[in-house]
Amino acid sequence: MNKITLNIDGRELQAKSGQSLLSVARENGIYIPTLCYHPRTKKAGKCRICVVAVEGLPGLQVSCSLAAADGMIVHTYTKKIIETRKMIVELYLASGKHDCPTCEADGECELQDVAKVLGIEKSGFPMSDKGYVTDSSSPMIIRDMNKCIHCYRCIVGCNDLVVNEVIEMGYRGSRMTVVCDLDSPMGDSSCVICGECVQLCPTGALTEKKAAGKESNRDTVKVRTTCPYCGVGCQIFLHVRDNEILKVTGVEAAKPNYGSLCIKGRFGYDFVNSHDRLKSPLVRKDGKLVEVSWDEALDYTAKKLSQIKNDHGPDSIVGIGCARTTNEDNYLMMKLMRGVIGTNNVDHCART
């Protein structure tokens, strides 16, 4: 592709021809706010908040949709631009129940973020109630269409990224809203609860049920790890606070899943905190498993294994490793069986 040179806010920048102005700006650390654009769902051209001024072109231009051209002179920060953006954001804030302090997305809402950057405390327009009833029929997802800004990210995500083809924009005009199938409650629809739409939604219109009321965006640490379920090995963030996993999100821009997950990876985490986890070593005494200390359990086990090895030979002991635990654990299991016990009787569940 051809290299071109253009000027943004007084800086001479190199770009590929055909690249959008927005992506050139982002690559060079120039902030242009967006709401409908997302790196994975790409341009939608809906919110118009990414407007910029291009010398020689009339009015303001939508930077996610305009291709950079050689010699272009672009301004991203003029009075007119700021006023236009403020107007758009205020209209959005007024368009639905964007009552931030009570919203699940508080702290992780792109609309809220943009409003802050633009210095908007409260919309100058009255907040309207679109009158949608919150849909909490799905076991995992809460939909509050009063907060939808019609950015289409969820729709592109569901149809083009995970291709589950459940949601669409339904109705027209002021009643326009996102619908599942032929406008069924999400819980009764063909939704497979992958949560892609929730991860992509810039506002509080789609949120996670299990995280509700937990302020999951406040003071949480994100720990990057790998999904413990199937062999795809999706990359995930565990959102953790006070030794509790509050939610899971997919790692954007990382192989192999690029942010997408399935129901198990995204919502199947609460077994970790389950009350019936094994918490103490147990040894069978008089027919019953009773709690003992690690020292007692380990000494007893080692003694029994050594004795069986002595009496019946190493091959009377067999080990079954685990297709769910780490490489390091499995290697050590293998080393114990071969090196310490002295047998090749080691295998793991063959359900590959």
């Binding site: 076991p139 497979v192 992958c194 299990k210 720990v223 790890t225 790998t226 379920y229 199937c230 062999g231 795809v232 090995g233 953790v240 996993i245 192999p256 997950l261 129901i263 919502f267 077994f271 019936d276 094994l278 918490k279 103490s280 070593p281 147990l282 040894v283 069978r284 498993l289 690690w294 380990l298 007893y300 086990t301 029994k304 294994l305 069986i308 019946h312 067999v318 080990g319 079954i320 685990c322 297709a323 769910r324 635990t325 780490t326 490489n327 390091e328 499995n330 290697y331 293998m334 090196g339 310490v340 016990i341 090749n344 080691v346 295998d347 793991h348 569940c349 063959a350 359900r351 590959t352």
Partner: protein
């Protein structure tokens, strides 16, 4: 994965997940991808949207068929007959890749001879398809620029599992679909670290990186590294033989890490009998499960979110896991427990943390030498990755270079499943996973919201059969095999063909492994979970229908 090792050289997915979107043809056989590997199915469906052909061969009308160009609904366990006939047609049409075959493979003449007798007419009868459907499939594959083949347990979980895998590899070699991008022979691994457990040598015949235990040089290397002498030279026993060994008295102790064998092994009654008989059972797990009930010692382990280490995904990518929360109570890392046991058996192991163990592993495993914790702190690396500069390997056998010099055609003959329907047990039961649950259910069933979607096990029965037996959707029936019976709710559906039933093994209340047949592939030791004969008895008519 013996089938892939024998034909191509390495028992692993040849290509990468990110290449799927570039496949002009995607051939899915015996993989319920949308439910078992959802994120991979997203890539397949995206490829379809971009114009790829998706061919699904499966006995059930699985979800993925919604996006398929063609679905061939063949009989359970007829894969070899089908693919042999397809290969015969490809050769007859002159669509095989003669250049690749000549330069990179051996055994073609033998393959040709073997498949010759599988005429579309003969195979059609075995497969329950029409001869022209087989010709159509051969044409679709033969005229494709290239195709990626994907399979899962529908291929491996048969007594002919290894031969099934070899046959898939034969087909892709015949078409020259190996050693190129967006093609290959791709087993999708069910559990998060099956690939890693294999790579780490948790197998009776190999050390890490598939180095043979029977090779004196390999043993010498490990003896020196470990400071231990006399590593055993005879291959060990596989899981099925372990259970038989318990019953005949050869096996006295079993150390089980994280496998709920009562639920996951076939023929539950036999498994339980063995565990009752066993002298000493150690279970190391995160939950008290059905298997731990029989244990003499139960050791509480930390789960994935509570520890550091690596998993290797289905495309050979070694990726980090990280500690995010503290384990509950006294639960400990598996490696710590093993290290402590070892010390108390007189062998101290000196590791401060998993990275020390990993460094020992890569030092002993040439194909992973270049993979360090530092390099995979963000994205993982795919083995083989042999040095610090090696970027890892997205697809194996690039340019037709195989570890054994040439890839080897391993033709196989079709054999029916060990147990086929008869007058007494007229249905064939096939088993698998469901989207809403995972494995033996110990994790998903403890996560809120999952049971709402799929609260109990269902047995899928075809409409025609249900009509004939006068069974309605939602009725409870007894599913009975020669090994046991379970009470289970009916789902009347055309997902299965007449004569076929489907169940999963996620629910202990109605676990398919009470019914499944404990017969095994002689090479891989994999059980025939995918086929056994059952009968369906309406609730209340049990005594009469049971016939025993």
């Amino acid at each position: 994965m013996a089938g892939l090792a024998a034909t191509l050289g390495a028992g692993a997915m040849t290509n990468s997940i990110s290449e799927i979107e570039g496949c002009p043809v995607i051939f899915v056989i015996g993989s319920n991808t949308t439910e078992a590997h959802p994120v991979i199915s997203y890539s397949m469906k995206r490829a379809v949207k971009k114009g790829a052909l998706l061919i699904v061969v499966d006995p059930r009308k699985i979800e993925l068929t919604r996006w398929a160009t063609r679905h061939f609904q063949h009989n359970v366990g007829s894969d070899i007959a089908l693919l042999n006939a397809v290969m015969r047609e490809i050769i007859k049409n002159g669509h095989h890749d003669t250049e690749f075959i000549e330069n990179c493979t051996e055994g073609f003449e033998e393959l040709k001879r073997t498949v010759e007798e599988y005429t579309p007419e003969k195979a059609a009868e075995i497969c329950g398809l029409r001869p022209d459907e087989i010709r159509e499939l051969a044409l679709m594959l033969g005229t494709a620029e290239k195709a990626g083949l994907f399979y899962t347990l529908g291929i491996t979980e048969h007594i002919t599992g290894t031969d099934n895998v070899k046959t898939c590899a034969n087909l892709q070699m015949l078409l020259g679909n190996v050693g190129v991008e967006s093609a290959g022979v791709n087993p999708l691994r069910g559990q998060n670290n099956v690939q890693g457990a294999c790579d780490m040598g948790v197998l009776p015949d190999v050390y890490t990186g598939y180095q043979k235990a029977s090779d004196p040089a390999v043993r010498k290397k490990f003896e020196e590294a470990w400071g231990m002498e006399g590593l055993p030279d005879t291959d060990g026993t596989k899981i099925p033989a372990m259970f038989d060994g318990i019953l005949n008295g050869d096996v006295k102790a079993l150390y089980l890490i994280g496998e709920n064998v009562v639920m996951s092994e076939p023929n539950q009654t036999h498994t339980i009998e063995a565990l009752k008989e066993l002298g000493f059972l150690i279970v190391q797990d995160i939950f008290m499960n059905e298997t731990a009930e029989y244990a003499d010692v139960v050791l509480p382990a930390a789960c994935f979110a509570e520890k550091d280490g690596t998993f290797t995904n289905t495309e050979r990518r070694v990726q980090r896991i990280r500690k995010a929360v503290e384990p509950p109570g006294e639960a400990r890392d598996d490696w710590w427990i093993i290290k402590e046991l070892s010390a108390r058996m007189g062998r101290s192991m000196e590791y401060g943390s998993p990275v020390d163990i990993w460094d020992e592993i890569r030092g002993l495993t040439p194909s992973m030498k270049g993979i360090t914790y530092e390099r995979i702190k963000d994205d993982g690396l795919q083995w083989p990755c042999c040095g610090d500069e090696d970027p890892g390997t997205a697809y194996l056998y690039c340019g037709g270079k195989f570890p054994m010099g040439r890839a080897k055609f391993c033709p196989a003959q079709w054999k029916p499943p060990a147990e086929v329907p008869d007058d007494e047990y007229p249905f064939i039961l096939t088993t698998g996973r469901r989207l809403w649950h995972y494995h033996t259910g110990t994790q998903t069933r403890r996560s809120a919201g999952f049971e709402e979607k799929f609260p109990e096990e269902l047995i899928e029965i075809n409409n025609e059969d249900a009509d004939r037996l006068d069974i309605n959707n939602g009725d409870y029936v007894m599913a009975v095999s020669r090994r046991g019976k379970v009470k289970v709710k009916v789902w009347v559906t055309d997902r299965v063909l007449p004569g076929v039933c489907f169940m999963s093994f996620h629910f202990h209340e109605a676990c398919s492994n009470v019914l499944t047949n404990d017969v095994f592939d002689p090479v891989a030791g994999t059980a025939e979970y995918k086929a056994c004969a059952i009968k369906i008895v309406k609730d209340g008519q049990e005594a009469r229908g049971d016939g025993r």
